[in-house]
């Protein structure tokens, strides 16, 4: 049974996601539809890029991923379908796919040209669903578009390294449900620059000297629980997706505060790592 995933900024209230699902089940009754997220911030392409990048590969090969963020067709925003790593992706050519394509070379990219409704303001329904069902029925990309070689990039995909390799200058690409602040600095890249040296991580006026592997590594279990005082403490981890993340232990944006609210970190803010000569 084919799987179609949905990643959109439709939100949880409106009828859009329900309409999409109804349409898909009408076209193909025995498909599996999986919501990845409908709560991408409106028009937030970096967020969508991060979410789909981190979710897609857990699905079986052959899964079809529909991504509906800023997808209105116009001369600067074409519709594309991509085959990559055995998965299919359908979205606008607006940068969403650049994070995945920077890792893995696409097998095929087509610019979709089967629009009978070019003027639609609901292209996920009128175009993406049709393409997804075409693929789910075994159709090929060749039939629905013409091959292209490149896709649009997003800003701040990669961090910078200074000339003498003593500093990584990264930036914030995502803020998660716990208010944790995720940068574009990945573990592998960090290690390749670090080469074993000591380091300091700077985010605004905060400095950190340790990067943890999980959140509770910050807890001093030798102390009695009421003397620990670790909840709400800032810390740095490589998160479960291997990105360097500024976190707050047991943070909660709604009460104790989070890395984002407590340290005032926002999308695209700079986070730097200085390496120290030993």
């Amino acid at each position: 049974m084919a799987i179609i995933t949905l990643t959109t900024d439709f939100g949880e209230k409106d009828h859009y996601a329900g309409t999409i699902k109804g349409e898909i089940y009408t076209e193909i009754p025995d498909v599996k539809i999986v919501d990845i997220s409908h709560s991408v911030s409106p028009f937030n392409i970096p967020e969508a890029a991060y979410i789909i990048f981190n979710a897609y590969s857990s699905f079986p090969k052959g899964t079809i991923h529909v991504i509906g963020i800023d997808s209105e067709l116009n001369k600067e925003n074409k519709h594309i379908a991509i085959k990559l790593d055995g998965h299919y992706f359908i979205c606008a050519n607006n940068g969403i796919m650049s994070m995945i394509c920077a890792e893995i070379v696409p097998e095929k990219i087509v610019e979709i040209n089967i629009h009978d409704k070019t003027g639609t303001s609901f292209p996920v329904l009128d175009v993406f669903v049709k393409v997804a069902c075409h693929i789910a029925r075994g159709g090929t990309l060749e039939v629905i578009g013409k091959s292209i070689d490149n896709i649009k990039p997003i800003r701040d995909l990669h961090p910078f390294v200074n000339e003498d390799k003593t500093q990584i200058i990264g930036s914030v690409i995502y803020i998660d449900n716990y208010g944790n602040v995720i940068t574009n600095i990945r573990r592998k890249f960090f290690k390749s620059v670090q080469k074993g040296r000591s380091y300091e991580v700077y985010a605004r006026n905060h400095k950190f000297k340790t990067i943890y592997n999980k959140y509770s590594d910050i807890v001093n279990f030798d102390l009695d629980e009421d003397k620990r005082n670790d909840e709400g403490k800032g810390m740095v981890v490589f998160n479960s997706s291997n990105y360097l993340e500024i976190a707050v232990y047991k943070g909660n944006p709604e009460n104790v505060g989070s890395a984002s609210t407590l340290m005032g970190l926002k999308l695209y803010d700079t986070v730097t790592v200085n390496f120290i000569k030993d």
Copy 2:
């Protein structure tokens, strides 16, 4: 396989939607349950009416739609089941169905009378699920209630036209995830009054002379991207459901603002269209 959709104001946190799903799967293991929305604003009947109206027809004929908003049974709020357009709807007789029934004559309306728990404060679980499963197993409406002819209306279902047909007086019936403000003025109705004349759309102290068909039609693609200044601009479109909508291009309630927040438009506010003699 039968499809049961859910549209409620249960929200995303509580156990209510999960409990409903468990109960349905316990009664009928091989049914498909589809969430349309659980984020209808509490007790907001116009919102629910708009959502189910715009979602239902994308589902296959035979789909059973459970709508759980303000559904406690009492002498003024009876439970009904409706067959219409090949679909089934189960809800309270509180106006939710009036938007759909204004378009399409119901084949059958029954007032449900099989309650063994009239005192329940969770009628979606104790009544609607039982009715939905009855229908999913092929049961008829006759068995679960007595036929009635009329259902309760909601206010502001239709816009008004002044006597000399120079003005449509509409009102706001829905505000979507992007903060866009949707009126009860539909494209077909607009055209039937307009008869080719020029027009001006008024929403509070804002005036618009163009109604677009999609959002990016407002963009001047001849200008360089950094000179355009179109994000955050107010505009009017006929939306994907063919309702006249006051929008903000790439609006976002949380940062740049939206039609609702920037223009101060709320549910039931008036939006007028003046037609101009040529």
Copy 3:
């Protein structure tokens, strides 16, 4: 077909829930995954305990419930799997299961010891999903852990009764989507202490002399609708889960206010019932 439910504090935006689902479908294509909630407040164990307690039993026997709140493995937070009432539960031993286990004796509790990634910061993916799929394929708990006898409690699970049995001192354990405030005083317990006496319910400076069975029981249907003035009124009900609940009739946290916002009631606040000598 096995059913796996998910109850987490992942929120609606991030990729975590999508990743979990992808992984499960990759391991077992024909399983049914049901979201109970991903909007538990971050790290809020009492909330999660209340939600899973009220949702689980509506699912068919054999259902596997994955609960991902505060689940990072460390020396004070072990992973457990429980068989109880024909259902399976997989979570951290942090109090989440104490509400259910206070009602029904578990058939089996094991402390999971099959971790190949003890250092993971995403244990729901790296541990719980593996255990869930093991059980879904018919595997036993014995294989994945060693039997234990007790689990961690949560605070304020039960209300107190004073010595001469004239007062129940309860506390707030949950605030729902409507802002209604749910206490740990259950109907059966209340009745067992009440023994037919009159009572007064106190919540901060509010006093109530009636406990209703459904919300609209507060409405005086003899009055005309515009003279009723019942919306927004405080009231007490035994809710659909049989907990004593301080409610506001047709409350809505976003506009008219709710029991929580209007009366300033928060998690762990005290609610008392005084019984009156006749």
